[in-house]
Amino acid sequence: MQIIGSRFARRVMPALALACVAGVSAYAQKPPSVVKARLVLATQGAHSSSVAKAAVVGQIRAGYHINALHPSLDYLIPTEVQLNRSAGVTVERVIYPPGRPVRFAFLKTPLAVYEGEVLIGLVLKLGRADASSVIPLRGKLSYQACNDHACFAPTSIPLRLVVPILPASVPLQSAHAAIFSKIRFN
């Protein structure tokens, strides 16, 4: 009772509870994803009340594919990017690349898929924000992957990005130019 009531216990118990949750989660067997993805900004930051470009950079493991946004067959699960509602940011447009038609052993007709690197553009409208503040963005890339003879359960990868708000006097400099040059924003 003395231990439970002590200041020490009040500090340690929540940490132990967290460790329990983490332990159980880690123990649960779950197949890892075959896709890696990150969210990047086209500039080093953004100005308040402006439009910014971002991109999801996905890397699909060799030998695997994920369905395009508009899969060739209605039963296939599309690849989609979703950003959570965040104060001060609106997603104006999401620009998906066209799927590449690929023929697989299990189908006579080609399927529209993404393989290798997949770049998905995002046009973000930022609301008013204080200079030197940051706007956190969170979302996910949902997909369902297959190789040429087996498929894997639909899953998603969390996406995170912090958009630094710069004073209007600070000029924006491009970042990740090689990535953004490959996305057709227009």
């Binding site: 340690v12 159980v24 197949p31 075959v34 052993a105 299990f106 003879h149 087996a150 359960a153």
Partner: protein, 282 residues
Amino acid sequence: MKSKRVILGIVLGVIVVGALYLINRFWIAPATTLSSARATTLSAKGDSSHPLAPEFSLTSLSGQTIDLKDYRGKVVLLDFWATWCGPCRIEIPEFVDLERKYASQGLRIIGISMDDSPDPVRQFYQQFNMDYPVVMGSDKVGELYGGIFGLPTSFLIGRDGRIYAKHVGLTGERTFVREIQELLAAGPNQMAANFVAAGGGPGSDDINVETPAEANSPVPGVDVSKLTPAQLTEYKQMLSSEHCSCGCGYTVLQCRQVDGSCETSLKMARAALAKLLRKNTI
């Protein structure tokens, strides 16, 4: 005083971690068996090369209770699939034909759908004229069978209730026919002592170049037939503790089971086997 608290914290931490392990080992894990207390896991009981098929009891789309123990004496093809899985959709019409052809000899097929919702499964069931039972699966059912990481995954269960073959991915119909015929040839509840896998590990039997021992191995592509049960357990633990360097993020064992075409995991699995055998020789 401070050091006492640190020690107390460490002791508490150890107790919690130990309790977690025990809770998972004896409470959470058995709860995933879904069925009676007699449920088994793939490696828990029986012959190491032909483990007993874990029992489950689930309700089919038509409301029928499907209890695997009721199928003892039959040859069962257990098919984990999903409507969104292209290769699965190729195999299912073949399975419908297979059951019609071999049902009188004792073949039964059970489909375990890994879809999230039964609605598309019902549509598919009618569209493809499926006449064998389909139940809705879950990760828990998958875990019973060692984790279902790729679809389709099919298990061939003999009349004695043991698993004789596992196929991950699209597998040729000829492979199933040969294996089913061999299993049907065994007497009621008898072990199919002479069963030889037709090949067709992960992928198509057309491209299979594995020996039967490699193809029918719990570590696809690696012949483990000469290992003792204890060595096999140790070997699988070795492969489960090492991540495949191909970049897939899987352990070597998972990678072998999911992607039979991965040369990296095959090399790593064979190297681990050589290491184990060397250790046992010394």
